[in-house]
Symmetry: C2
Subunit: 541 residues, 2 copies
């Protein structure tokens, strides 16, 4: 089937001749262009297929010997890959931060590949380099709001960087802490700096026993990865309890002081501008004071929530972000840019110089090559997608999208509270909320139960929630995610909850009603629901 | 101009209605689909435009307040961005590893954005997860050639990883050394391991004074970045001289022993499978012996050269790569995949567990989420591009492309040697070569000149080479890159050379002739050429 000729002539065609308009690949493309929702609903299979079944289609570890015709390969992609992808455009897919994208990204994606620039250096990116610098400048301005003259001084300066573009929030967070680490442990009398001499030598020189990074327990797992990669160690990520989902500043200060008094060095305090799990925002302004008092770097991870700054109504929720030394924002989250567009912004355009590097053939001294201060090397031109989105939406367009998501999340919270079968666990401060399913009689009982009973009940509800979430996902019509959260009502023991991210502008109130109805139906059909309803007698089993 | 309405209705349209077929963006798309070379030659401006001029178009650091119509934005993109991009598809752009791409990547790019999967976790990628694992398996097989039963055991195992996919070779190299570091400094009696306790504690526990990584001076700059990020320190990247462009194994062994005898720990030896600057391949088999004798990790950076393994004729040049603990290969280099597709492969599928991490809401224990062992977090589905390319080209298709590039590089080397104005500096072992322009009379003189004279002459030739390279680039018809290489003929002093990467299948012999003719013409018109021709008298000025 579809074996093509192995000849230079054939290969040359693959590079020089587009597929015929009637070919399978051209048809796929046309369908995507005409109606992407229809394409996805037609090709993404909703019936349950186990991962093991799907793996069967991807189990051959040998590179095929002979070429395959593009069209027969396109058939394969539809049957094996597209059919078992996740329909992230679906209005009822409200469990993660990935959502429907605006149409213009489809042709732009083609333009991106058609240009195939490499942004590591100007020689292979030319206008994409100033474009990316401008995008970083615009996002810098959104956060830090410096004046035009300030940007004219730094935007295109070879010796400065307003930020770094990368594949996502993880790279951005690692970069921020890398810059912070190299700056704090920089060159000194008799010491060449951590970048050159390494971390162990830096600890010796600066007489450091332990060095730590502090954040709340809601800190993203990439922070833990960052301290591992950077040699600081995961145990030195000090994660403070946050029963109300945000980091209490007085506790951060007290813990920071205690840590320092024990002879340790505090590298950074990380505030969260919208936690991944509940969307809560740390009190950034107060945490900025704490960081100043502790004398450490202040990083804000606003990978998800940063886009709230576009909204005049809600941007105050991030008050204090402008005092951060570095800020992470992902454009592929609330900015509706395709996957792969993360940014870290630096308040001080000199700071990135602590990680600046050179080579003979690129990134030469004095060049404006972006690669001189990025963690990644060769990178594609995703900055174009952000640039176009910023222009096509404008601040006011983004504002409308952000405001709508928050409004919709509140509406959904109201629906949950009004529904007898559900308990709202964390109300939305931005557009994420968590809740769980629970028989009304048990909701009542939990109010008066003693701790042992509560634990028993919660354990059973946890199992129920996990089951409902899985069955709903497998049914394929809709998707909410789940997580575990320590809960102040239960002596800070964790409970399992549904997690909803209101991201897709196409999600309607009716969609939300249907999702609750489906969950309720699944739960009622469960043995565990009935058992819980039978109440007391069951609780000791 | 082009200010759009700020209304939910308008925004909703951006998400639900494609652009009209006659719109600017649709026209761009159609032109790309019909004839990409024509699109690029029509829109990419070849006349000299200074970077400063281009920066003028990207100098506004403020997010526009109001939305812009897609079509008027598309006009802007053409005028400002596309016009001043680099035509990487051009057959005369032979200075970097970025080249023309096969046509099928254009519609695939659209499909990728249309599906917008996030590969960090199965919940947002589903079939893309097994697909990426299969791609890693196929590349693993290409390098390590294990049997089918072996892959059936590990390919989709939740507790194993055959490699990690990432944005490029830099991320791949950092990941390889991260895994090596965490494995070597792992948990031990009374020590939780470097991942948890950090590098300084690990050095104390294992009684390490310094820890180093060894490679030749041709090692890619990402290795230096990796040891910085990982806390090892740039000064602990031991770069050995390689006058013949490859690392002499006996010297590596001697230096490694000396380093260890001084009480230091050698973390890894890095062999290069195709240096970025000259395309030379280190003697990998011998270096594998050296690494075994020194008891350190053996990493091979084959970001560029790894694809040579597709060729039956040339794969022997990488003999010994199958003995490496980890191997970096970029699909966006010689595999003709769009920018953003790097991979690291691990010989031992258990090794990646040294960096495994978990979170409550994703990457749970026992899940097959790819994000549990990758440096990056959220990532797009670029693995699909590699998957499709492996099928559409097949091993034999790639073999033909690789063989042709090497043949063409040799042909170009012959042309250079036959041309009186040029000196071949490094002949191609794969498909990269370096050379320089130099008046014939001076070429003669250099054979007998004393060291002082050689230095004087070479300094002048360096200036000439830089000028010719810059002027050729600015003329916009063709592009070769340049670098500086230590040269054994000149007492290992570095000289500046042109660098050519034979990557684009569309490059013809005539193109190569024209490039030399253009360089010769530019050089002859230079004052420095004439001065050099005047010979002796000028050499002391």
């Amino acid at each position: 089937m579809g074996e093509a000729q192995v000849s230079l002539k054939h290969l040359f065609r693959v590079f020089t001749k587009p597929e015929h308009k009637d070919s399978k690949l051209a048809q796929i493309e046309q369908h995507l262009s005409d109606n992407i929702l229809d394409f996805l609903s037609q090709h993404v299979v909703t019936k349950k297929t186990s991962l093991e079944e799907i793996e069967q289609d991807f189990s051959d570890a040998f590179v095929p010997e002979s070429p395959e015709f593009v069209s027969s390969h396109a058939e394969n992609l539809l049957d094996k890959l597209v059919a078992h992808s996740v329909n992230t455009y679906s209005p009822t897919f409200i469990g993660h931060m990935t959502s429907a994208l605006p149409y213009f990204h489809l042709p732009l994606a083609k333009l991106l590949v058609g240009l195939n620039q490499n942004l590591v250096k100007i020689e292979t990116s030319k206008a994409f380099t100033p474009l990316e610098r401008q995008v970083l400048g615009m996002m810098h301005n959104l956060v830090y709001g410096q004046e035009d003259s300030w940007y004219q001084q730094y935007l295109h300066s070879a010796r400065h960087a307003l930020g770094a573009f990368g594949s996502g929030g993880t790279v951005a967070n690692i970069t921020a802490l890398w810059v912070a680490r190299n700056k704090m442990l920089g060159a000194d009398k008799g010491f060449a700096g951590v970048a050159k001499s390494g971390l162990a030598a830096a600890y010796r020189h600066y007489d450091i026993n332990q060095m730590g990074v502090m954040c709340s327990r809601r800190g993203h797992y990439s922070l833990s990865k960052a301290v591992d990669v950077l040699g600081i160690g995961r145990d030195n990520l000090i994660t403070l309890p946050c029963p109300q989902q945000t980091l209490p500043p007085e506790q951060a200060l007290a813990e920071g002081k205690r840590y320092q008094e024990e002879g340790n060095k505090l590298l950074a305090l990380v505030g969260i501008g919208g936690t991944t799990e509940t969307g809560h925002v740390d009190p950034l302004d107060e945490l900025a004071d704490v960081a100043r008092e502790l004398g450490c770097w202040f990083h804000v991870d606003a990978a998800w929530g940063g886009a709230t700054l576009f909204s005049e109504t809600y941007r105050t929720r991030l008050k204090g972000i402008e005092r951060a030394d570095s800020v992470t924002i992902d454009a592929h989250k609330q900015m509706y840019v395709p996957m792969g567009a993360g940014m870290v912004l630096f308040k001080n355009p000199e700071d990135a110089n602590s990680v600046r590097h050179h080579a003979q053939y690129i990134l030469r001294q004095g060049s404006k090559d972006l690669g001189a201060t990025t963690l990644e090397g060769s990178r594609n031109g995703m900055a174009m997608m952000v640039y176009s989105s910023l222009h096509i939406f404008g601040r006011r367009g983004y504002e409308l999208l952000i405001d709508e998501s928050i409004k919709k999340a509140r509406k959904f919270a109201d629906m949950i509270e009004a529904h007898p079968d559900f308990e709202l666990v964390t109300a939305p401060t931005l557009s994420i909320l968590t809740y769980r399913v629970c028989p009304p009689v048990i909701q009542e009982k939990l109010k008066t139960a003693d701790e042992g009973e509560k634990n028993q009940i919660n354990h059973k509800i946890d199992v129920l929630v996990v089951n409902v979430q899985k069955l709903q996902r497998e049914a394929g019509k809709s998707f909410v995610s789940r997580t575990r959260l320590e809960n102040p009502d239960f002596n800070s023991r964790p409970i399992t909850v549904f997690r909803v991210v209101m991201a897709n502008p196409l999600t309607t109130e009716q969609d939300l009603k249907n999702i609750l109805a489906e969950q309720s139906k699944i739960a009622h059909a469960r043995h565990l629901w009935k058992e819980l309803e039978k109440s007391e007698s069951s609780l000791t089993t």
